[in-house]
């Protein structure tokens, strides 16, 4: 039997009614994962463990317990979210064989909602990359065209959902690592407000930018996942203690009143040079659809957009060089054994344990923090970051959400940019500003290119304004109509 239930909502409802068991849902997802293993979406998938988690949901149901909003829904987990009892490797050699002794807070919350943790999703090593090619294990392939990248760094999480293996997954987004692969793969990807979701158990890359978020087949499922994982965690003092609003009202408003009363900001800089014409057309169409649904379009300005990449790479790399100092061959994972003394042990383990992109970023981060360069680079980037925040403050005094392309182009070819880090970094130009300012942002699929590749647009809202983000996203999703389905 094959359970083609589509959305997480449909699965939860069917499991709750008893039309299907969580075990059957899990077994079918495992079969799909096996049939589509060539995509490279998973680094580790423990069948017995998945089925055992599903059985716990079925047992709860048989006892008449109240089932959570994600009961029986298989959820793929990015390999940088700590999970007890399975490897957590960040797709890096240096964490080969490492097992965390605790679960990330987001996973605990997911489990409490009845979600079934489903395998360790492939990624760019330590979440550094925009193509999935920096995984030390294997690249992930784009299910729409296997010669193309799925985007990154949450490559496996995006592909697991896009290829229909699971309806939901968790990723992390430091400069676009959820939204960019979501756009490349034709799924919904949400980066919540910085502080909305506890980062405890997320292996730190750049702590002031990192945020955990879901991939989903549609906006309503993304809302379910958001509600499940958001909220204060006493063990992460940077997680916000603001209450998490239910998104039901926003989704209902989207259905009843569309975009009436909402203003959509259109940054003049987002039609920058180098934007793929099909992406530009899809973005214009999305704006027209929102306007037709009642939105007022308002010009806004993000004048520093051309410096986004520079600001980001200085700050993210500086924080990464500090965060990744803990990987020393002493406390975690892999150690290079043939070392002479402690310093040699550190250097050998780190040089041979990290891949080229991670080494590059550690080098850049160390350099911008070193004596003589600190203020000119790191200090300056932090000041430019303030200006990004101020520009968004100004923009959100004029509008409720901002719409931009998610990426300058659809998915590029495997190998095309791997030797040219700067061109790879440019894939994140539209997504980075929301990380710099800590804002919630979502990529919603809106079109397909003439070559059959998905195109997404990004909505950005002010801090902690996820309800508005979801309202606009739900309207856009409805108005854009059905998109081509992936051929099996």
């Amino acid at each position: 039997m094959t359970v083609e239930l589509g959305t997480a909502r449909a699965i939860q409802a069917a499991v709750a009614r008893g039309d299907v068991s969580a075990r059957e849902v899990a077994r079918d997802a495992l079969e799909r994962a096996d049939a589509r293993s060539d995509l490279g979406a998973f680094l580790h998938l423990d069948e017995d463990r998945v089925l055992a988690a599903a059985d716990r949901v079925d047992t709860a149901r048989s006892k008449g317990l109240t089932l959570g909003a994600l009961a029986g829904v298989p959820v793929a987990i990015k390999d940088n979210l700590c999970e007890r009892g399975v490897p957590t490797t960040c797709a890096s050699r240096i964490l080969q064989g490492f097992e965390s002794f605790y679960d990330a807070h987001a996973l605990t919350r997911l489990g409490a909602a009845g979600g079934v943790s489903f395998g360790r999703a492939n990624m760019d090593e330590f979440a550094m990359g925009s193509s999935g090619e920096n995984s030390s294990v294997k690249p992930t392939l784009n299910p729409w065209d296997r010669s193309r990248v799925p985007g990154g760094s949450s490559s496996g999480s995006a592909v697991a959902v896009a290829s229909g293996i699971v309806p939901l997954s968790l990723g992390s987004d430091t400069g676009g690592s959820i939204r960019q692969p979501a756009a490349f793969c034709g799924v919904v990807g949400l980066k919540p407000t910085w502080g909305r979701v506890s980062r405890r158990g997320l292996v730190a890359f750049a702590s002031s930018l990192d945020q955990i978020g879901p991939f989903a087949v549609d906006v309503k499922d993304a809302a379910l996942a958001f509600e499940a994982i958001a909220g204060h965690d006493p063990d992460d003092s940077t997680s916000s203690n603001r209450g998490v609003p239910s998104l039901d009202a926003s989704l209902a408003a989207a259905e009843q009143s569309g975009m009436k009363g909402l203003r959509v900001g259109v940054p003049e800089e987002s039609s920058a040079e180098g934007l793929d014409p099909e992406v530009a057309r899809a973005t214009e169409r999305a704006l027209a659809l929102l306007e037709a649904a009642g939105a007022q379009l308002v010009p806004v300005s993000l004048p520093l957009l051309p410096w986004a990449i520079d600001t980001y790479y200085v700050i993210a790399s500086a924080e990464a060089s500090s965060n990744l100092a803990r990987f020393d061959g002493v406390r975690y994972g892999w150690r290079c054994e043939d070392a002479k003394g402690v310093v040699d042990l550190l250097e050998r383990t780190r040089t041979l344990g990290f891949g080229p992109e991670v080494r590059r970023r550690i080098m850049l981060g160390t350099w911008v923090l070193s004596a003589g360069y600190f203020d000119a680079y790191y200090g300056q980037a932090q000041r430019v970051r303030t200006k990004f925040r101020q520009d968004f403050e100004r923009a959100f005094s004029l509008c409720d959400v901002i719409l931009t392309p998610t990426t300058p182009s659809p998915a590029f070819r495997l190998g095309e940019r791997i030797d040219d880090p700067l061109s790879m970094y440019l894939a994140d130009i539209f997504t980075i500003p929301a990380n710099l300012a800590g804002l919630p942002a979502m990529s919603v699929p809106v079109a397909h290119s003439s070559g059959g590749l998905p195109i997404g647009v990004q909505l950005v809202a002010d801090a902690f304004e996820e309800p508005r983000l979801f309202q606009a996203a739900a309207v856009l999703e409805r108005e854009r109509g059905p998109l081509p389905a992936l051929g099996r």
Partner: protein
């Protein structure tokens, strides 16, 4: 960024470029030069009088309830170590090692 700066920076980061093939070091050097030239554009932005941002939102200091809890013991923490000796992380000999740095 010249070769000396590259090697010095690597040392600060506890990376040893001598362990990499020469062509990989060459490539790293040219990539770093281009990346540094790119981020150098940040100087163009006028930031006079602008304060630095180190995290996006102001944080409210939150204290957890003062209730006793049991932290994971040494066994849990040491389980992930590549080498241990009972309750200690094991490292190569430190005293008398033949190492100038």
């Amino acid at each position: 960024m010249d070769k000396d700066t590259l090697r010095h920076t690597a040392r600060l980061a506890r990376l040893n470029l001598d362990l990499l093939p020469e062509e990989e070091v060459e490539e790293l050097a040219s990539q770093m030069q281009r990346i540094v030239a790119h981020v150098d554009r940040l100087r163009e932005v006028d930031t006079a009088g602008v304060a630095a941002t180190s995290q996006p939102h102001a944080l409210v200091l939150s204290l957890r309830p003062d209730e006793p809890s049991r932290p994971p013991g040494p066994d849990a923490i040491l389980a992930g170590a590549p080498a241990r000796d009972e309750e200690h992380f094991l490292v190569p000999r430190v005293v008398g090692e033949d190492e100038s740095s």
